[in-house]
């Protein structure tokens, strides 16, 4: 067993994948010589050479667009977008090509590619370094969106993403890149994409969260459980496709639902989860379902960021309104 933090688990997963399959190539801005601005690709160029791990040009549309060509021609590109806020120049390639090549050719050409990107706030970063853009991908047919919340999950989910025959957006909660360490198996393993994980059982309320919000929500739940509530926590792990089964089974048991996310609230991921619950467990609901998200403002610079992202206290306060309804 290794003991790794989340970003180290990402590196380890990449290393494992590259060792297993010569066709895995890794690139992106500063990914080669430097090993990435977060050091997620540290050591890979030294170990596997500059053909398999290299510095791209500073052009996200090329990073993804070239990867599409590579994937069609037999490689497994695992590319890094330096921060998710810089995926916009690549959005055309992602949506109009990566997501569609299989359908467009009725399966002749496919794009088994992974697009990694650190996302989310709470690290006092410059503008555009803190976005949570899962909805923009999740509303697009042909993409899977995966978000790990622990080192163990990061490795298993990333290896599953690399093994997946279709493009996967792998969003890494950079706020917890180095927040804690965990035992991570040295060997290859995967965690299935499309399956949520019940982190904690409970009776009165189902809460769904992912990424860095899992820890924040855990803290909130601890506080609320001290008051006597019993709360079930689900780590969504895959944003798209949503694991409706796990969520609905839980809500049918607890009768109450909330979702906590970093993304902006309106037209956000919470709306989809609430609608899912409406569609599959409406008659079980004992209280209006609740979304706890960030404001519909522009992500503030560091001096205002605390107003934006839900923190433990705010989550407590919001969940309480559902519990006490």
């Amino acid at each position: 067993m290794l003991v790794l933090n989340l970003v180290e688990a990402v590196t380890n997963a990449l290393d494992t994948a590259m060792a297993n399959d010569k066709n895995v190539v890794v690139y992106g801005e500063d990914v080669g010589v430097e090993g990435g601005v977060f050091r997620a690709t540290k050591g890979l160029q030294e170990k596997y050479g500059a053909e398999r791990c290299f510095d791209s040009i500073l052009a996200e549309s090329n990073i993804v667009g070239a990867g599409i060509g590579m994937a069609i021609n037999g490689l497994k590109p695992v590319v890094e977008i330096q921060f998710s806020g810089f995926m916009f120049p690549a959005f055309n390639q992602i949506v109009t090509h990566a997501a569609r090549m299989r359908n467009r050719t009725r399966g002749l050409y496919t794009v088994p590619m992974v697009i990694r990107m650190p996302y989310g706030g709470g690290v006092r970063a410059l503008e555009h370094h803190s976005e949570s853009l899962e909805v923009l991908f999740a509303h697009t047919a042909g993409l899977k969106i995966v978000v790990p919340s622990t080192p163990y999950d990061a490795k298993g989910l990333l290896l599953a993403a690399i093994a997946d025959p279709d493009p996967v957006i792998f969003m890494e909660p950079k706020r917890i890149y180095r927040a804690f360490k965990q035992e991570v198996p040295e060997e290859y393993y995967t965690i299935p994409i499309g399956k949520a994980k019940v982190l904690k059982e409970g009776k009165n309320l189902t809460v769904v969260a992912w990424g860095a919000m899992v820890r924040e929500t855990q803290k909130a739940i601890e506080i609320l459980e001290k008051e006597g509530h019993s709360i079930e926590l689900i780590d969504l792990r895959t944003i798209s496709p949503i694991d409706k089964e796990t969520i609905l089974a839980s809500v049918q048991k607890t009768g109450r639902f909330a979702v906590v996310h970093e993304a902006a609230t309106t037209f956000g991921p919470g709306a989809e989860l609430i609608t899912t619950v409406n569609e599959g467990a409406f008659l079980y609901l004992e209280a209006p379902p609740k979304r706890v998200g960030s404001n519909d403002t522009i992500v503030p610079l560091p001096k205002g960021e605390h107003h934006y992202v839900p923190d433990t206290d705010y989550i407590v306060s919001e969940l309480r309104t559902v519990l006490e309804f």
Partner: protein, 361 residues
């Protein structure tokens, strides 16, 4: 040969055969057998027949929007002849000549323009990416195809086609730059047909030639008479050899003209005079090669007629076949989103199916 000596800043253009079918630069004339020349001709002619008949079907309301490549046959067929079967092509949407040369079944091509995704499920050996609608985005794929080919130790190259309009997109710039930095086995062919829908080439860029854009990437750029199939063949061949040798990408500007409408939805009389079209008709790439072949005695009116007749029949039969192909089945719209339908897609599919059953649809 061309590439090393060519200075794209001099506004020169490589031409081997003039508009009357006379070889004016015998020194550059490629080494093609008579059979190959006839094959070049036939492919162009076939392309023209398809365009003409499809436009006719479209006027009859039997075809959806269609983008003819009238006038650009030499650019396409000449360049496609210069690459190998295993080489990749990243096309735009107006490369009928390339598809034909690479062995795409006409049925597939018709199916596509008929609005059926099955069309782009080409036989594997065709090795052309599907028709690309978002302008210039395919350029990036070409760079990746080339990277993978080299990485896998294959000596396949990747050719991308783009329009003069497409050179304005950021993707054009990024793909050339990446290919140059990585010295990738790519050939980038700009079909400069003078228009992006109604927008003239002069409004698209102020550079004297499009070929000179290569200088921005430190790679060779060459302007070619795109209506001269020998020039297109010879230059592409050299660029392809160069790429295959590992010497990196080349930018080819094929100077040509879009004789027809942008697509069947377009009315070019709004933005250009017929006199301009007539001028270019004089430089028609097919007439030009026919004159050459006739002069050389390897083609005659009889062969022309027989070939046209036979191909015409084939096009008609193929189209009628495609007309019977019917709608896309419901399941097909769900089955290729992912390798495996997700539970949500499965549920939506079942719901729609049940709805159809209920409604008797």
């Amino acid at each position: 040969m061309f590439l090393e000596n060519f200075d794209p800043l001099k506004d020169e253009m490589i031409q081997i055969m003039d508009k009357d079918g006379v070889v004016v630069r015998p020194d550059l004339m490629p080494d093609l057998t008579d059979e190959e020349i006839v094959e070049l001709y036939k492919t162009m002619r076939f392309s023209r027949i398809i365009d003409e008949k499809t436009l006719q079907y479209q006027r009859q309301g039997r075809m959806l929007t269609y983008a003819p490549n009238l006038g650009q046959e030499a650019t396409q067929v000449g360049s496609a002849f210069a690459i190998r079967q295993t080489d990749w092509v990243a096309p735009s949407f107006r490369e009928l000549g390339v598809w034909l040369r690479k062995g795409a079944p006409l049925k597939n091509i018709f199916l596509y323009w008929f609005g059926n995704e099955l069309g782009m499920k080409m036989p594997e050996e065709v090795r052309i990416l599907p028709v690309t609608i978002p302008i210039a985005s395919q350029m990036q794929h070409a760079s990746g195809l080339a990277y993978a080919a080299r990485y896998r130790g294959l000596d396949d190259i990747a050719v991308a086609y783009v329009g003069d309009g497409g050179t304005s997109q950021g993707d054009f710039h990024e793909a050339l730059n990446f290919a140059a930095v990585q010295s990738l086995p790519n050939v980038f062919i700009v079909q400069n047909n003078q228009f992006a829908i109604s927008t003239r080439r002069k409004i698209q860029t102020k550079s004297g030639t499009i070929a000179q854009k290569a200088l921005a990437y430190g790679i060779p750029g060459v302007q070619v008479d795109g209506n001269d199939i020998f020039a297109m063949y010879a230059v592409t061949k050299e660029a392809a050899d160069r790429a295959r040798r590992g010497d990196g990408p080349t930018l080819i500007e094929a100077y040509t003209y879009r004789m027809g409408a942008h697509t069947t939805s377009d009315d070019p009389t709004v933005y250009r005079d017929n006199s301009e079209v007539d001028e270019w008709r004089d430089k028609d790439p097919i007439d030009r090669l026919r004159k050459y072949m006739m002069a050389k005695g390897i083609w005659d009116e009889e062969k022309e007629e027989a070939y046209s007749e036979e191909r015409g029949r084939f096009v008609k039969e193929t189209f009628e076949d495609v007309e019977k192909s019917g709608d896309t089945p419901l399941e097909d719209t769900f089955d290729y989103v992912f390798a495996q339908k997700t539970p949500i897609l499965e549920a939506q599919y079942q719901a729609k199916k049940a709805f159809y059953a209920k409604e008797g649809k």
